[in-house]
């Protein structure tokens, strides 16, 4: 099976050994960074979605709110992806074959696609159509919070 071989190679890599052989607080630190990334990422989507739906700061230009959202998103996604990749490499064989981890990755890919193809395009307009704004906000929230929920479940499934 090729997946098993890939997971095996990952978990036996130098990076994986460095993480798993170090103090358990290194793993805990990665988890702390991961959660900060997730919190920043999710809150940025809540912020721009509420503005797109007209429920928050409706009089502020969309570009002003979108700029703050973009800062939170970029920092958040960087922290979450870097720490998440390191956590995964060290535990590839344990998590890589779980269906819930697969679901998380599928949701993550869909969320990134919606972000690039829809949400960031909508946020670049000053007056997006209400239908486009609502669709982008709803899809982003469902997908990204879905990634978060699926991730939270990995340890339990």
């Amino acid at each position: 099976m090729r997946l098993a071989a890939v997971l095996d190679t990952l978990q036996n890599s130098a990076v994986a050994h460095a993480i798993s052989k170090s103090d358990h607080l290194v793993g805990a630190t990665l988890q702390v960074v991961h959660i900060f990334g997730i919190v920043l990422l999710l809150s940025s989507l809540v912020l721009v979605s509420l503005r797109l739906l007209g429920w928050l700061l409706p009089e502020a230009p969309l570009s002003v709110v979108a700029r703050e959202g973009r800062r939170f998103f970029r920092i958040g996604v960087t922290l979450a992806v870097v720490s998440g990749t390191l956590i995964f490499i060290a535990t590839a064989k344990l998590y890589g074959t779980k269906w819930i981890f697969g679901l998380k990755m599928v949701l993550f890919a869909a969320a990134v696609a919606i972000h690039v193809l829809l949400l960031s395009r909508v946020l670049r307009q000053e007056q997006p159509s209400p239908a486009a704004a609502r669709t982008a906000a709803a899809l982003s929230l469902v997908l990204w919070f879905g990634v978060g929920f699926a991730g939270r479940m990995i340890g339990f499934a």
């Binding site: 997730i38 999710l42 939170f72 929920f149 339990f156």
Partner: protein, 180 residues
């Protein structure tokens, strides 16, 4: 075991065990999906509460939404932040209910609680003594020193609360030999 446990602590442990082994506590702990669902809710609500509060704090420091008046940022974000924190506290209370005995023996949890009290005092102080003195107009003007300090305190405390919360499963119990 010749270790003497102060009566207050012994009482606390007894109370925590009673909570954890109550009908609701065991129902949450033993349900395969309920516990995970509440944890997910705790995390999701925390993202909304902390993220939007961070935006308010950065506005107080003049580092975000600079063209929107401070008072407007506060009044617009306050209901969302309070609503999300309400969800964080309710879900957190339920999680505690299902693991009370382990939690009272956990140093990270104790530190987290102390920090939450401090963050609450800071927020109350800001609302009662500082926010009323903020001017509504003149968007770009710097906010008073007291408001900036409250913003820094808020960011620091809530960040540490997240750190201590995430460390709960990683720190060993501070009751050697387990709970009496």
């Amino acid at each position: 075991m010749n270790e003497v446990v102060p009566p207050v602590l012994a009482g606390l442990y007894a109370w925590a065990e009673k909570i954890e082994y109550s009908a609701v506590g065991t129902a949450i702990a033993e349900s395969r999906y309920l516990f995970v669902l509440i944890e997910g809710l705790h995390l999701a609500a925390l993202a909304v509460a902390f993220g939007l509060l961070l935006l308010v704090d950065l506005r107080l420091l003049g580092a975000a939404l600079g063209t929107v008046p401070v008072k407007r940022v506060l009044s617009q974000l306050r209901p969302w932040i309070i609503g999300a924190f309400a969800l964080v506290f309710v879900s957190g209370g339920l999680l505690f209910w299902s693991a009370a005995a382990r939690m009272v023996a956990n140093p990270a949890f104790a530190i987290k609680l102390v920090l939450i009290v401090l963050a609450g005092i800071n927020a109350l102080y800001f609302e009662v003594a500082v926010s009323r003195g903020l001017v509504g107009e003149g968007a770009v003007a710097a906010t008073p020193r007291a408001a900036r300090l409250a913003g820094i305190a808020s960011i620091t405390l809530w960040s540490l609360i997240i750190v201590s919360g995430r460390l709960i499963p990683y720190l060993p119990s501070w009751v050697p030999g387990g709970i009496p």
